[in-house]
């Protein structure tokens, strides 16, 4: 079943891979790439854990703290409605925050690496601007 003698980078089973193989001079060791990877991971991973915990808190409160959720704040607006709307607000805010972060911190590194290692014709032909 296993094919331990395959050349790295060659398509296993003689099958066409999703994309043509790249011939790169190790861009994965480029300091610029390491900065890009660290920048991506240090944002995406903790923020994902954060919003999942915040969502889980909301779900658990809705199930197991219903008296608290039913507390009226003003008029007919209660804690449950405000917390639900806050989930919407935090989702919009995180999306905007990430869009801005990626534009400032990730996109410049990525386009620099594309220029440094990209062969003409390999990088998407419609350009990287949009």
């Amino acid at each position: 079943m296993d094919h331990p003698h395959q050349q790295p980078g060659s398509p296993p089973d003689g099958i066409v891979t999703a994309t043509e193989p790249l011939e790169l001079e190790r861009p994965d060791e480029d300091p610029e790439f390491l900065v890009l990877r660290a920048g991506f991971r240090s944002f995406a991973f903790p923020v994902t854990v954060g919003f999942l915990l915040w969502y889980l808190l909301y779900v658990l409160l809705s199930c197991y703290a219903r008296a608290f959720m039913a507390t009226t704040l003003f008029g007919h607006v209660n804690v449950a409605l405000v917390l639900g709307l806050l989930q919407f607000a935090s989702t919009f805010a995180i999306a905007a925050w990430y869009a801005r972060y990626a534009e400032l911190r990730l996109d410049p590194s990525a386009s620099l690496l594309r220029e440094r290692y990209g062969r003409p014709g390999l990088v998407t032909p419609r350009g990287a601007g949009e």
Binding site: V16, A18, T19, D28, C63, H76, T91, A110
Partner: protein, 540 residues
């Protein structure tokens, strides 16, 4: 009961011709778009990915169109109208889920894949086992999702057009199925995307119009709308707090936690959503499309809140339940009420408009699902597994079109035999399967260096089999009057939604499969995937 049936029947006569006319206009317009798009579809990138020429905003609209299914528009508004706050819990889960797609999936997928989800999963693995597994799970998730939409279409037509009887329902399902196959076969991804965009604009415009009309009745004071809804519901302030639907027992509370988990983790594993990221030229545009989608979908769900509470306040739960026990007709009934009530011209016009929008929604979503599953069959299973990469592009597209016809036929047959099933439960199952079988493998492939072929294959199959089996042995299939098989009882799994158990199984299986695999991961291939996924080097 008799009175409200009478009201609906009278209204049905008024608006039926208008609904059919408006829906006919939508079908003709979208068929025109489809033929136009079909003429421009030449190669595989056109057919599978719409030529990768859509902008972030256009694709954001199309994603919203794919996501705001009849279950969202009619289902959530209906659940809010009947159970109050608990319906809103769905909206929150459906929306927050998009952050997983935005932060972890959209850009790496766009950068390192070509046409399907399996492109990314199989990148550094052995192609045939991984593509087979991913292709099967893509088709299973899509067929469950399709089933829900078709069942919805069947019951809607009976209610909205006033057609009664199984024959009419079946012919509607056949008609919807035939149209969706036509969209996909003729228009490919380009045609399907434009259909989604048109539908998303119509749906948002319809929902916005109704929201403004509802709020205007309460002097644009949401608090007094809430008060009126709570009063009309007969349940008082409990209607505005969680618990009416899911608070009955400890098991139903746990079921809600399970559902919540499936909703938030399922979206980023839905194949028909994932393929949308390939229709834009770059990862940056993929990010922008999710950004727009979050805005559009979020605003839409806020509007369904107004529609649901508006229906509770203005139509009333008794009339809604008399028309459809699950509440699926709450939004159309609200439209009729807002236009001036049953029997009035304004009521008939608004009801016809909203009904036509609901049909358009179903049609567009089923087209997107058919395209995603037939693309995965052709690209993953046929071209790479059966023909071992020796099929030409024309042959591959030809097999995708045949697959679309076959999948359409399967969905039509299943929906005809399964119209007892509850549409919302089937959608939630699709989310649970996607979260259990697809998401763990996607995350491991992208972010875990040591992940192997054995890990990928075990994760997909364990997630797929455990989620489907747990549903088979739950009350969805047997043991209660609302089950698929109401007269037998072989259920032992207490929850309706399997997510709480099957999602951890999917993650665990990927981890254990990797630890036990004889062949270790190739670090060079992972380095290449990382470079591609983060920079877009070598992207198609």
């Amino acid at each position: 009961m008799t009175l409200s049936n009478l009201t609906l029947a009278t209204a049905a006569g008024d608006h039926r011709a208008l609904t059919l006319t408006l829906f006919g206009v939508f079908v003709l317009a979208t068929l025109g778009i489809t033929v136009w798009a079909g003429r421009q579809t030449r190669d595989a990138a056109d057919f599978y990915a719409g030529g990768r020429g859509f902008t972030g905003f256009q694709n954001g609209l199309a994603i919203s169109g794919d996501y705001m299914s009849a279950a969202s528009f009619l289902g959530i508004a209906g659940v809010i109208a009947l159970f109050g706050y608990d319906g809103f819990l769905y909206s929150v889960g459906f929306l927050v889920a998009w952050l997983v797609a935005l932060l972890l999936i959209a850009e790496p997928l766009r950068n390192s894949g070509r046409y399907t989800m399996a492109d990314v999963l199989a990148f550094r693995m052995r192609q045939r086992p991984v593509r087979t597994a991913a292709g099967i799970s893509t088709i299973v998730v899509s067929v469950f999702y399709l089933l829900a939409q078709m069942i919805g279409a069947g019951s809607l037509v009976a209610l909205l057009l006033g057609i009664e009887g199984d024959a009419a329902k079946r012919w509607t399902i056949v008609g919807v199925g035939a149209l969706m196959v036509l969209y996909v076969v003729v228009g490919g991804m380009k045609g399907t995307t434009w259909v989604q965009i048109v539908k998303a604009v119509l749906l948002i415009a319809g929902a916005a119009l109704m929201t403004v009309l509802v709020l205007a009745k309460y002097d644009f004071d949401p608090s007094s709308l809430l008060g009126a809804a709570a009063h009309a519901s007969g349940k008082g302030d409990a209607f505005l707090a969680p618990g009416l639907k899911y608070g009955a027992t400890g098991t139903s509370e746990l079921d809600f936690v399970s559902l919540g988990l499936a909703l938030v983790l399922g979206t980023a594993g839905l194949p028909h959503i994932l393929v949308r990221f390939y229709t834009v030229p770059t990862a940056k545009a993929a990010r922008k499309s999710v950004f727009w989608a979050i805005g559009i979908i979020g605003v839409f769900y806020l509007m369904t809140l107004a529609l649901g509470f508006g229906a509770a306040a203005l139509v009333g739960p008794r009339t809604i339940k008399a028309s459809n026990a699950a509440g699926n007709t709450a939004a159309p009934l609200l439209a009729q009420q807002l236009g001036g009530g049953a029997g009035s011209t304004g009521g008939a016009v608004l009801l016809a408009v909203i009904s036509a929008v609901a049909f358009a929604t179903i049609l567009a979503v089923v087209a997107g699902l058919t395209l995603a599953s037939s693309a995965s069959f052709a690209h993953d299973i046929y071209a790479n597994v059966i023909r071992r990469g020796r099929a030409g592009e024309r042959e591959e597209i030809g097999s995708a079109k045949l697959a679309a016809v076959a999948i359409g036929a399967i969905a039509i047959l299943l929906s005809i035999f399964a119209d007892r099933l509850n549409a919302a439960a089937v959608v939630a199952l699709a989310f649970a399967v996607a979260a259990s079988a697809n998401l763990p493998t996607l995350l491991y492939s992208l972010f875990w260096k040591r992940f192997t072929t054995a890990g990928a294959v075990s994760s997909v199959y364990a997630g797929l089999v455990s989620s489907v089996l747990l549903v088979v042995f739950s009350t969805v299939v047997s043991g209660t009057p609302t089950s698929l098989l109401p007269h037998t009882d072989f259920h032992w799994f207490p929850l309706e939604n399997p997510g709480l158990v099957s999602i951890p199984i999917g993650f665990l299986a990927g981890w254990i499969g990797t630890l036990l695999s004889k062949q270790s991961a190739d670090p060079a291939k992972y380095a290449e995937l990382e470079v591609r996924s983060l920079t877009g080097l070598g992207a198609h």
